[in-house]
Amino acid sequence: MLKRFSLEPSRIALNIAVLIIIALWTFPTAGLLISSLRDKNDIAASGWWTALSSADVAKKGRLKDKVDQVEKDGKFTISGNVFEGADGVSGKVSAFGTKVQAPGGNPAGTVATLDNGQTLVVNVDGSYVLTSPTKFTDEDSGGRVFYIASQPPRFTLENYQTVLFSEGIGRSFINSLTVTIPATIIPILIAAFAAYALAWMKLPFRGLIIAIIVGLLVVPLQMSLIPLLKLYNAAGTFMGVPSKTYLGVWLAHTGFGLPFAIYLLRSYIAGLPKDLIESAQIDGANDFKIFRRVVLPLCFPALASFAIFQFLWVWNDLLVAIVFLGSGPDQLVLTGKLNALLGSRGGNWEILTASAFVTIIVPLTVFFSLQRYFVRGLLAGSVKGG
């Protein structure tokens, strides 16, 4: 808004300032993503910020045997490439040597003179030529060579394979979906019907019911846990079923999400034009029909806002899931699994980073594709108790 008043140097400073803030904000997530794609030895050996540049690694190899020697102009040579047979290693040689004490004593491309009068050249691409004035024998061929190779960045999906299929993250992912999808759809349906009734239908105590629902926005989630846990245990024993079930967690999320959902949807539905509802009534439609045919399509934006809000809330929830669901592999959700991994695999960053990224990829996708609705829900949602 102040575009036209600002001076050039201040604009540059402004751009730099914002860039720095963004770097600060995205760096932690970038570290997670990059690390999750790195080899597990690399993660433990160097910081993730070095992963994008080439890394210098000290390597050793063995030169070829005397059988490969070639005689030329009275000299004997053995040529080859240090990268042959060294699996997984490629890149550029920056220096080489023949002694373990000085693995990078000679820059690549220069001639190194060995003790017995032989000379060795290792080029940048890894090719080498070992030259001797005399014929190679068993003793003076097939020696060791040390070199510093600068390796291009290496990335792998191996960590994802591990966490998805052998660490149980894949299973937890499905559990999370099993919890989240109904726990998003059920409250929308229930809240939309209730919101319509509270906005447009004649019923006694309407004002009182609305006031109570708004009042329930203030109840912190923690208040409900102990009584509900006791209730679930009692109900489980009474009916002879386990107390920790998906149905239980859906209903819990629905109950906790309802005040906000009704509050949000009621104000939206109450704002619809009165003529619209009345003309439908005159046409002889009953309220169920009006709700389905007229109101529901019109309040799509509000429904979408709430759906995204509730989806992210349920997907990211840890507390409700660990209280109302079991910790077995058939019920443990992603957040709970990740929390368990933090305890059991504390130092295995290849497992943790890949697992964390699997858990955050869904909300990030939802966020980036439906950001508009998310922001709208957020503006309305500053009153959510939860």
Binding site: S6, T29, M201, L203, L225, L378, V383
Partner: protein
Amino acid sequence: MIAQVLYAFFTVVLGVGGCFGYFYGSNWLLDRTFPANANNDASAVRNLRVQANIRPWLFLGPALLLLSVYLIFPVIQTVWLSFHDRAGDQFVGLANYKWAFYDDQFRLSIFNNILWLAVVPALCTLMGLIIAVLTDRLWWGNLAKSLIFMPLAISFVGASVIWKFVYDYRGAGQQQIGILNAIVTYFGGDPQVWISLPFWNNFFLMAILVWIQTGFATVILAAALRGIPEDTLEAANIDGAGPFKIFYRIMVPQIYSTILVVWTTITVLVLKIFDIVLTMTNSQWNTSVLANLMFDWMFRGGGDFGRGAAIAIVIMVAVLPIMIWNIRQANNEQKGH
């Protein structure tokens, strides 16, 4: 794996289908029992009236039932439990509250909660305000805001893993793979175990919440900044006010009520903070906060529902006035439009 997917799919269909089934079924039943197109007019009119009396409760029924079971009943029950002993059998009066008042761990949790309250909402709002003002003047401001906003979509647990990696510690002399220790050692400092540093570790946990919530503050404040009339800013500029003066004298007063809403919303969130402490330190090294203390009393060491409930009431009492204020604010705003 396949069986699990099928099972998940089946339960999803069952849960959602059951819900649809209720609304369609109950309304169908109502229309059938009291048909609007009955043989004679008198009974049709009577049926319509019956329908109009019953239908709202069909619509509201599930919501009222769930709200009663999941919110109204628990609130009453928690209050009741907080006056009873660990199993909820014996009335003990105010003993649980008295215990809390003298308990070291409770005092520590309150102290930490206050520390969080003093730092996080202020820092988030301030950062959010600065970023909102700065990005407002950039052509790529929306992209910048998206990136700042992004952590808000990440779960607290996911964020904790991200930051645990930032704070990772290796012994002195080893290659540091946590970026914070790498920076510290680069400038010649000694690597630290950040999350177990007494007292200061609280701030390293708070950084995570600030990282998450600043985006929220930014987006809401940016929307409010847009609402300031262009004329006002232009007039101030013509009068010779510099950018800082415009910021303090015009922008901040104009969006003052929004700043307060952002502040209080984050305050409520901070009062209930749980996940970050659980995953980062599990309340060790003096980082416990109220919600984690309550969780510990509920589920660890056999559980003491009375004490847990008393702590829940304390959280409730702290949250209550702020939420009431927030809702009134939101309602006023709705009336204003």
